[in-house]
């Protein structure tokens, strides 16, 4: 994406003095990202925009969270639904660090096991998967031991 577009997008969502900007989220997953990162519970100021024009994705979303920084393990939890997300760490209105998300080795919660006979689909059990393939994604359920492939993935 060109600098020009980036600048335009930045204008659409107000700047923050300190915190984290999460960019390049697929618009349809914006609220899932908010929920996974528990931003619906944060006392910090958040602003977000959805359906912003993007060169890459059809429509992208952006989230700005003031005074909050994320550990890599936490931020990687969104990798399954926002694989191209980019993070800008802002201090004093300046980007001091850029991060990309990475698919973690374990996925806890977030994804449903595809197996209807799995205990996790029948009782209130948090799902847990070992990531056995990253591209395409393949998740092995800790419980039923079946593999959920990328095309079968349903986000909880």
């Amino acid at each position: 994406m060109s600098d020009k577009i980036t600048k335009k997008l930045k204008l659409k969502v107000s700047a923050i003095s300190e915190g984290t900007v999460i960019d390049h989220i697929p618009s349809e997953n914006l609220f899932k990202v908010i929920s996974i990162l528990e931003l619906d519970k944060t006392p910090n100021m958040i602003t977000f925009g959805a359906n912003l024009d993007s060169g890459k994705l059809d429509k992208k979303a952006i989230i700005k969270v003031s005074h909050q920084f994320f550990a890599d393990d936490d931020i990687n939890r969104i990798a399954l639904i926002a694989p191209n997300a980019k993070l800008n760490i802002i201090k004093d209105y300046e980007v001091v660090e850029k991060k990309i998300v990475e698919v973690p080795d374990r996925v806890v919660g977030i994804v449903k096991c595809f197996n209807p006979k799995c205990i996790t689909n029948n009782e209130p059990v948090t799902t847990s998967f070992k990531v056995i393939g990253k591209e395409p994604l393949a998740l092995k359920c800790k419980y039923c031991e079946k593999i959920t492939h990328e095309h079968q993935m349903v986000i909880k």
């Binding site: 006979k117 799995c118 209130p124 039923c144």
Partner: protein
């Protein structure tokens, strides 16, 4: 840390060998009151008379007491209690839980919830590790070894959990050879073939069940179930192809033995039963000794 048995791969090769040793000991002397004063919960959320009787006889021969239920209709489960709550309650009362449950992954989950060890007696189509250990004990007993075994697996190799677990366990031993005989729609899943290739273990695939079993040390038969087929005509075509008959045993090794997890339908013709190579009924009896061994190992009683 408590020692659960949920999947066959929870055990190491040392564990397998220890179970073989203990099972032989219990076969020599089945009545050893090692569970005296202990309570074992036998929780059968779905009925399985064969497995339950084998476990409960093992517990009785070890002098233990049994609490539990034989199917979920006779338990609080029908009132909508979660597995979580049932296991929490029972682990307050007993020293060990043996459980069978129709949902896959239920045993692993129960092991997380429970403060006492869990032995998985079958969780849906997922795992049934005590069956695998009794299969191994039957191989050890009839062949005198677990190394250098040539196994022919016949029938439903796609959905048959017993063959998958046996494959994983036997791969821990020296130089196994696997021969898979199955129709295309029920062939061994790719992930197991990849596993064998990665370990450098030889395997061969066959469509036809003929006299190729002459090299076999073990012929492991499974049921071909009608409900596995989307097309009933395909089932009709294969159901009579994978039947073992006495006439097919003529050129087999004198030490070869036929195993089957039971119950069988028609895949082993009754004319095989009188052959000394038919081992499936003794195999079932071996289950009791093996389960005594597993219980003793789980609770560190010997």
């Amino acid at each position: 840390m408590k020692r659960d048995l949920i999947s066959i791969t929870d055990y190491s090769k040392e564990d397998y060998l220890r179970i073989m040793e203990l099972a032989a000991d219990f076969e020599r002397n089945p009545n050893q009151r090692l569970l005296e004063g202990k309570v074992v919960a036998s929780l059968f959320f779905e009925p399985s008379t064969r497995t339950r009787l084998s476990f409960e006889t093992a517990i009785n021969r070890l002098g233990g007491r049994i609490i539990g239920f034989t199917d979920s209709n006779s338990s609080s489960v029908t009132k909508g209690e979660t597995l979580h709550d049932t296991i929490k309650m029972v682990s307050n009362y007993a020293d060990l839980i043996v459980m069978r449950h129709p949902l896959e992954g239920s045993a692993r989950y129960a092991a997380e919830v429970s403060t006492i060890p869990i032995i998985n007696a079958g969780d849906g189509a997922n795992q049934h590790p005590t069956q695998t250990l009794l299969d191994m004990y039957s191989i050890q007993k009839t062949q005198g070894r677990l190394d250098n075994i040539n196994i022919f697996m016949v029938g439903d190799l796609k959905y048959g959990r017993t063959v998958h677990s046996l494959l994983m366990a036997m791969s821990e031993f020296e130089n196994p050879i696997f021969n898979f005989i199955a129709p295309e729609e029920l062939e061994m899943p790719e992930e197991y073939k990849i596993f064998l290739r990665d370990k450098g273990i030889r395997y061969f695939e066959h469509r036809e069940f003929t006299d190729i079993i002459s090299e076999a040390d073990i012929v492991y038969m499974t049921r071909v179930q009608k409900e596995r087929f989307s097309d009933p005509i395909e089932y009709e075509q294969v159901k009579n192809v994978y039947i073992l008959r006495n006439s097919m045993l003529a050129n087999t090794k004198p030490t070869m033995r036929i195993l089957h997890p039971l119950p069988r339908v028609n895949e082993i013709h009754t004319d095989v039963d009188s052959s000394e190579k038919a081992y499936y009924f003794q195999q079932a009896l071996n289950g009791m000794y093996t389960r005594e061994a597993i219980i003793a190992h789980t609770l560190n009683l010997k």
